[in-house]
Symmetry: D2
Subunit: 109 residues, 4 copies
């Protein structure tokens, strides 16, 4: 018998975890699209702070990893609340970009 | 025999597609962490524009889906170039949040 | 007799113009701090798009000027609605930074 | 005899202070347009964090004032380095908006 949780793709699985996390804290009422969008802006700002002075060596990997995780967590939670099918949206956008920006070997005579 | 591409998780699969996409256009030289970060800022800005006047009805679903896809695409491409293991970083951050914010039923007597 | 409008500093003068502009269009109801903040995010995103691929020559000056103007307009309108005294806040922050970051000649023996 | 510093408008005056501040710390080499743009993104992110959970009462006024000051400081410093004439750019943008969005009394019969 199929196990729905096991057959889920990664975005759906993370979104389910984030939903449970929010529900266990009575937070879904705070998780509106606009609130999550502002939270995403805050996390992108924290990632920007690591790179703003153009450091000669990359910022500490664990700091970068944590800020990237925060960006992805809020983007995925936003998508869940806003009703966006993430795997479909990303696949469609990549397909559209393939069409908009032909690869080099298609442009040469 | 295992098929590496099939056993990949979703972020790794999307990152591989984006890498191929960039290479077919000779774009990897433009895909530095800072450039991709500024591109991410641009996409978050486009998502914000859909919500900025607090519309009484949600913005058009296909527009929201496209902007969310752009945010995720640049976040995943950034993570690839910056050497972040996305599934690990997200799992660790969720685990850390579980610890930092105890659920309600753990706080009641 | 003093002319209040003439003796105003630049931020107060721009804020007065933006207030009149909004009122003439029945827009003050849309100009909440959160809405203006999301609009500011959108404008910062547009400025970022001009610089995201690290162009070898600067972006077109008129495009840069227009996006900077949009950023300042929303920041000043936000400040007005949120009740921030801009000239005081900026002067205080610069004074605080002077203290936090001593200049080089104060650090040398 | 005219005093150039006294006759300066507020943006030029603040930009002059910020320039002196940077020079006294040997920081102009870090103040490229892209670096300042990423710093601006960081400050907008900090402002967003104050509003992200849609607080029932406004955030602490001194926190809001400080973050708004940081946004304006980086926007003005960016404009100086990028060669944007701020008072001209803002005046032109407001004039353009007057034209693009006719006021209500001009639209009624």
């Amino acid at each position: 018998m199929p196990n729905d949780e096991q057959s889920e793709d990664w975005p759906a699985q993370v979104q389910r975890e984030l939903r449970r996390f929010a529900e266990a804290r009575d937070w879904p009422r705070y998780h509106t699209p606009r609130n999550l969008l502002l939270a995403l802006v805050g996390e992108v700002g924290e990632l920007a702070e690591l790179y703003q002075w153009d450091p000669p060596t990359p910022p500490p990997p664990d700091r970068v990893a944590e800020e990237v995780a925060d960006v992805l967590i809020y983007a995925l939670r936003f998508a869940d609340v806003a009703g966006v099918d993430v795997t479909k949206a990303v696949a469609e956008k990549i397909a559209r970009n393939e069409h908009r920006f032909p690869p080099l070997n298609d442009r040469t005579p």
